[in-house]
């Protein structure tokens, strides 16, 4: 079998937090005194380089946004609601060690070490468009592997119609989870055919290195034809289910955020237009860009939604 079961006790549970943090600091110090010393106290240790190949076929040719832009402008409410907050606050997240629970309608279930989950997968870089529901966009070089390959390994049963992703729930690591006005943990889901689509990526890296915390370390979803919020970050649980799960933003504002969240210039958000977007990095006086159907991936994914009223299933 490909996957080994790991003991249910995580090192973080047996190691007192203070010792744990000290150790992290020590590791940070050892990892190249130069770079680490330049980082403010409490900053995460340098991100390790990944081994990967480029997937040019599934990459767009537009110029990617800079690492600075991608890592300093994030919606990750677990660390604050301002887009600069995650970069400031996400250092409290501990992406190592990490385990992911596989649950629901699948033959292979249980809690697995992230390394064991990743081991069989060759990593590739894909440069994807990214479109936020707030009408701004970026181009991002992710490193990851197709979610579909991973799903197959867990042998979902015939009852598995949807895949649900749950973000970590731990207010010590995600301080904003102490605020009550949000139904933590963050939950998102894909229909099975969406999950199996070759474009759907499980991302573990950015710009050739491990994911920075604020971008959803150590494991996040990336379905580039959907609005950004669909792509759950810092995933701790993957569950196969028969009924369509309620995703967090849909629970919060059902008239504004649907289950599908496909990028669609013809269906406006009730409070703003989705016809165009401001592309981050284009400069202060740049024109807006037209938003493309399915974020420019219509050729690949439009068939998934044939016959569906996209106004209703937004």
């Amino acid at each position: 079998m490909l996957i080994r079961r790991t003991p249910d006790i995580r090192p973080s549970e047996i190691t007192p937090e203070a010792v744990f943090l000290d150790r992290r600091r020590l590791i940070a110090g050892l990892l190249g005194a130069g770079a680490a010393a330049a980082l403010p106290a409490g900053e995460a240790p340098a991100l390790a380089a990944l081994k990967y190949t480029r997937n040019a076929k599934l990459s767009v040719t537009e110029k990617p946004n800079t690492f600075e832009e991608i890592t300093n402008y994030n919606n990750f409410y677990e660390f604050g609601t301002d887009k600069e907050d995650p970069a400031r606050n996400a250092h409290t997240l501990r992406p190592k060690p990490w385990s992911v629970e596989i649950a629901g309608e699948a033959e292979v279930r249980g809690k697995f070490n992230l390394e064991d989950i990743l081991k069989p997968h060759a990593l590739e870089e894909r440069i994807y468009r990214f479109r936020c529901v707030e009408a701004w966009s970026m181009v991002i070089p992710w490193v990851g592997f197709p979610l579909g390959d991973m799903v197959k390994r867990f042998k979902p049963t015939s009852k598995a119609k949807y895949v649900e992703f749950t973000t970590l729930l731990d207010p010590r690591q995600m301080p904003e989870q102490r605020s009550a006005n949000f139904p933590w943990p963050y939950v998102e889901a894909l229909r099975m055919d969406e999950a199996m689509h070759p474009l759907t990526l499980m991302a573990v890296g950015l710009y050739g290195r491990e994911l920075p915390n604020q971008n959803g370390a150590p494991l996040r979803l990336m379905a580039p034809w959907k609005y950004g919020f669909k792509n759950a970050k810092s995933i701790v649980r993957i569950r196969f289910v028969e009924k369509q799960p309620r995703n967090t933003w849909n629970v919060l504002a059902p008239d504004e955020y649907g289950f599908y969240a496909n990028v669609n210039p013809k269906v406006d958000h009730p409070r703003w237009s989705q016809a165009s977007e401001r592309h981050i990095g284009d400069g202060f006086f740049a024109k807006r860009r037209e938003t493309l159907m399915f974020n420019g991936y219509a050729d690949q994914v439009a068939s998934l939604y044939q016959g569906m009223d996209l106004r209703r299933y937004f």
Binding site: E69, Y73, N181, A253, W272
Partner: protein, 224 residues
């Protein structure tokens, strides 16, 4: 050298307030210039990955702050008994209008790229934009009639007209409230401050009414 209170306001406090009111503009302008390479980049002038939204936010917040500070002048005057404070109010109000115009210009240009079709649709269809736009339109007559000449000409009607500041402030807070995605903590702070400022007036007004009712003869009471 000692200055009379009158001169202190004219020569010291007002110029200082004028400079203070320009700080947010300097911040935003510095950021844009640094972005264009016309200023050395420094943390203060770093507008982040989305400078357009940042500048829109800086001038939008400044508008709202100035509106609320303008509304705080009268309560402060009544609480402290310092009648001179009223001399600062016009500058605060006019600056609020100035920043509202800037906010609108940043919206028209950098934010919407002068795409008039999208802009008209926004103003008509998007409730939070409609609210902001209404507030801006209502500020125009107040800015025009802010001069001594208009004050004299309109007499009692001037005060009535300038009560428009109350709905304007409400629309401003509402506009802010309606655009946040989920986290209403900050708009809530603004709404609370506004409620206190308006509540204070309501309370004073009731007190005054009760006093006149008590002291007035019955015939006059009929008329009130």
């Amino acid at each position: 050298m000692t200055l009379t209170v009158d001169r202190r306001y004219r020569l010291v406090y007002k110029p200082l307030l004028f400079i203070a009111c320009l700080i947010p503009l300097g911040w935003a302008l510095g950021g844009v210039l640094a972005l264009g390479g016309l200023l050395p980049s420094m943390p203060l002038f770093d507008l982040g990955a989305d400078p357009v939204r940042k500048v829109l936010g800086i001038v939008g917040k400044t508008t709202l702050n100035l509106l609320l500070i303008t509304l705080a002048v009268t309560p402060l005057r009544q609480l402290t008994g310092n009648g001179y404070l009223i001399r600062l109010r016009r500058m605060l109000g006019v600056f609020a209008f100035f920043y509202a115009c800037l906010h609108f210009m940043v919206y028209l240009g950098p934010f919407q790229g002068f795409s008039w079709d999208a802009i008209t649709k926004d103003i008509v269809k998007r409730p939070y934009i409609t609210l902001g736009f209404t507030a801006l339109l209502m500020l125009v007559p107040l800015a025009i009639t802010s001069t001594n000449g208009w004050m004299r000409r309109l007499k009692k009607r001037w005060q009535k007209l300038h009560r428009l500041i109350y709905p304007i402030a409400i629309l401003g807070v509402w506009h802010y409230w309606w655009q946040v995605k989920q986290d209403i903590r900050e708009p809530l702070i603004y709404a609370t401050i506004l409620a206190v400022l308006l509540g204070w007036r309501l309370w004073r007004w009731q007190q005054r009414r009760a006093a006149t009712l008590k002291s007035a003869p019955p015939t006059a009471r009929e008329r009130t």
